[in-house]
């Protein structure tokens, strides 16, 4: 990517308010992948931290918010013979944890390839 092109993209990022956050993120990643090794590694780490944040958010909802803090409200509903809050605490949370770990592994494998840091 030429120097001129990079400046243009940076300018768009800084000044253009009409484009969506999603597009901005894509521009940032394009810039990063075209930048120095250091830029790339730092963009990879930021992308990792962002998916970590989302995953830990789900972890907190499934492990604390629903089965502990909101249990009484959820127990007014039921699935089969399980009060919902009780089910979340003794079954649902565990299933969510499982899905989370596999999701993160899958996502990171993609991210590794995208930033060209995957193992041989």
């Amino acid at each position: 990517m030429s120097e001129k092109m990079r400046d243009l993209l940076k300018k768009i990022l800084a000044e253009e308010s009409s484009i969506s956050d999603r597009t901005k993120e894509q521009i940032r990643q394009t810039l990063a992948s075209a930048g120095t090794l250091e830029d790339q590694r730092s963009a990879y780490w930021k992308a990792n931290l962002s998916i970590l944040g989302w995953c830990l958010g789900v972890w907190f909802i499934a492990g604390y918010l629903l089965p502990i803090f909101m249990v009484d409200a959820l127990n007014t509903m039921s699935i089969g013979g399980y009060p919902l809050g009780f089910w979340m605490a003794q079954q649902g949370s565990i299933y969510t944890f499982l899905v989370l770990i596999f999701f993160y592994a899958w996502w990171m494998n993609r991210l590794d390839k995208k930033f060209d840091v995957h193992e041989e």
Binding site: R41, I68, V71, S93, I101, A105
Partner: protein
């Protein structure tokens, strides 16, 4: 076939299997001894991790704990599984990339300090030794209960088996025996559960059976019936929280989760897979294998409780005049009375056993001349160990449960012993005191410290310190407050330096120890507790079991402050952190 002969056959066959594996998987180098040559398939490692993790407590005690706690018992279910999310997302891939042999080694290298490494070894030893005592007890109990041999001989048998495969094979031998032990323990756990679920609800899966209607009465859910029973006997509803405040529910679950993620003997299992992406995936497989037991356990607990109350009140719950006749009690009750884990006392001499909550006596307690609860002692371990007998399952199922209990205890003990011996031979000897030691001698030192650790564990199993019941809280509290935060900061906070890390670890370790000692007695010596161990004595209502969470927060806070006041880590350490964060090896 006679039950005892059957048990000897099944347990003997599993032991022969473990020894066979030990001979096949001998360790020839320190790499094989510490991390199985980093060649373990991620699914196989997941299975070994599950056996490593699921201890005598998970197998024998947890379902009973849940049976008596009901909803409140969820803290253990969520705490001991949710920790894997933290381990898989925040620690395992990075520590695998670091690519060395032990957890204290990471702490020592990352914080460029033998002092930090030694503090980490101390934390590791306290955690692992307290934990291994419980496993040795579990081995002894399984032997003495099922085979009616003296607890000493039970321990000697268990220790000899571990000795053969752990000393010979190191991590390599332990890994492949743990896989076999997982298969034994999961069969032993799920087979009775499936039978009982079919009997009670017609559901093949205990996970759906717990939420299903009772066989023969399509309008009545099992959990509703159980709730009704518990209330009729003066207890709280099974599905509602009666044991912990919401704050302690949160703190305890969190302490168990971050404690799980910080347990060194589990973390080192992820050093054995070939690649970073295998470490990520392997944690998921581990949790699948763990969840098979952990989603079954709540059904086992609830169904055992339901069966027990029905056995005690054949004429309907609370119908005290038709309660179980003591002389006509089932055989399994007679067997367990011999062990002292089940005690009846016919206080009103009516020949029947009336069971209810004495502290909150239900209405019927005033009638029929009742003199108090007559089921004086009911150890929670019975809920799993006697389950096949309660449900009248065939003898081979009972034999399987015996072998499963022993497998669960041995597999965890072996993992802990490896963590202990590698901390001594690799961190203390090779790392700090004798850096010039040859590989051959280091391997020998590893084997000798393993043997010594087995003898120590056996001795403590035979003469358990009076605090056996408290050690779980201690081990998890310390792992949560000392090791987990320092590992996490080592990876996620590049600026963290040795001063901050050491101050943080010591703060977490000592605040948690002191808080537990204040309520449980100094060094668990009875009578030395300074404050009453109940909600009124707890500072801000925080229970000692949940204090690990607070200890972790203090650890991070102190580490941050000290780190800001001292010099940043050297350039090469920052480069080390950079390289740990990226899977590919060529991170120049």
């Amino acid at each position: 076939m006679d039950l005892k002969v059957m048990i000897y056959l099944v347990v003997g066959a599993t032991f022969a299997l473990y020894i066979g594996i030990a001979i096949w998987a001998r360790a020839g180098s320190t790499g094989e001894f510490y991390v199985a040559g980093k060649g373990v398939n991620p699914i196989a490692n997941g299975m070994a991790t599950a056996a490593d993790w699921m201890s005598a407590a998970s197998f024998i005690s947890m379902a009973g704990l849940i049976a008596f706690l009901g909803y409140s018992g969820s803290v253990y279910l969520m705490g001991w599984t949710g920790g894997y999310v933290l381990m898989a997302l925040l620690l395992a891939p990075y520590l695998r990339k670091f690519g060395k042999f032990t957890v204290p080694q990471f702490v020592g290298d990352r914080f460029y300090s033998n002092g930090a490494r030694i503090v980490a070894v101390i934390c590791l030893l306290i955690i692992s030794i307290t934990y291994v005592i419980g496993q040795m007890r579990g081995v002894g109990i399984a032997f003495s209960r099922f085979l009616e041999v003296d607890i000493l001989w039970g321990l000697v048998a268990g220790m000899s088996i571990v000795f053969v495969y752990a000393v010979l094979g190191g991590m390599k031998g332990i890994t492949y025996t743990q896989i076999a032990q997982y298969v034994v323990l999961i069969f032993a756990y799920t087979v009775p559960a499936v039978f009982i679920s079919i009997q009670l609800t017609g559901h093949f899966l205990p996970q759906t059976g717990l939420g299903a209607t009772l066989s023969g009465d399509d309008s009545r859910y099992l959990l509703d019936a159980l709730n009704g029973m518990m209330v009729d006997l003066g207890f709280a509803e099974y599905t509602t929280n009666a044991s912990f405040s919401t704050l302690n529910m949160f703190l305890l679950t969190m302490a168990l989760m971050i404690g799980t993620a910080g347990l060194p003997h589990v973390i080192i299992r992820f050093f054995t897979v070939p690649r970073v992406r295998d470490a990520r995936k392997s944690a998921g497989w581990a949790l699948i294998f763990i969840a098979l037991l952990y989603t079954t356990a709540p059904a086992v607990g609830a169904m055992a409780m339901y069966n027990l109350v029905n056995t005690l009140y054949p004429g309907g719950v609370g119908n005290t005049s038709e309660a179980m006749v003591y002389d006509e009690r089932p055989d399994w009750m007679r067997t367990w009375e011999n062990t002292g884990l089940l005690v009846f006392e016919d206080k009103n001499n009516d020949g029947r056993i009336q069971y209810y909550n004495q502290n909150n006596p239900p209405a019927f307690a005033g009638q029929d001349d009742l003199q108090g609860n007559e089921l004086v002692r009911l150890d929670r371990d019975i809920m799993v160990l006697a389950n096949p007998e309660i449900a009248s399952l065939p003898n081979w199922v009972i034999a399987l449960v015996a072998a499963g209990g022993i497998a669960a205890a041995l597999s965890t003990a072996a993992g802990l012993l490896l963590a202990i011996s590698s901390a001594i031979s690799h961190d203390l000897l090779k790392g700090v005191f004798m850096p010039k030691i040859s590989e051959k001698n280091e391997l020998m030192a590893g084997r000798i410290s393993m043997a010594a650790a087995i003898l120590l564990a056996g001795y403590l199993g035979l003469n358990p310190p009076g605090f056996a019941a408290e050690v779980v809280a201690l081990a998890f509290g310390l792992a949560a407050s000392s090791l987990f935060p320092v590992l996490m900061m080592g990876i996620f906070y590049k600026r963290m330096n040795k001063e901050g890390a050491i101050a943080g670890m010591l703060t977490g370790l000592f605040t948690t120890l002191i808080y537990i000692f204040m309520y449980k007695g100094w060094f668990f010596i009875p009578g030395t507790a300074m404050l009453p161990d109940n909600a009124s004595g707890w500072i801000m209502g925080i229970s000692p079991q949940g204090f690990g969470t607070i200890g972790a927060v203090l650890n991070v806070a102190v580490a941050m402050i000290v780190c800001k006041l001292t010099a940043p880590p050297p350039k090469e350490i920052q480069a080390l952190v950079e390289s740990v964060r990226v899977p590919r090896a060529d991170t120049a």
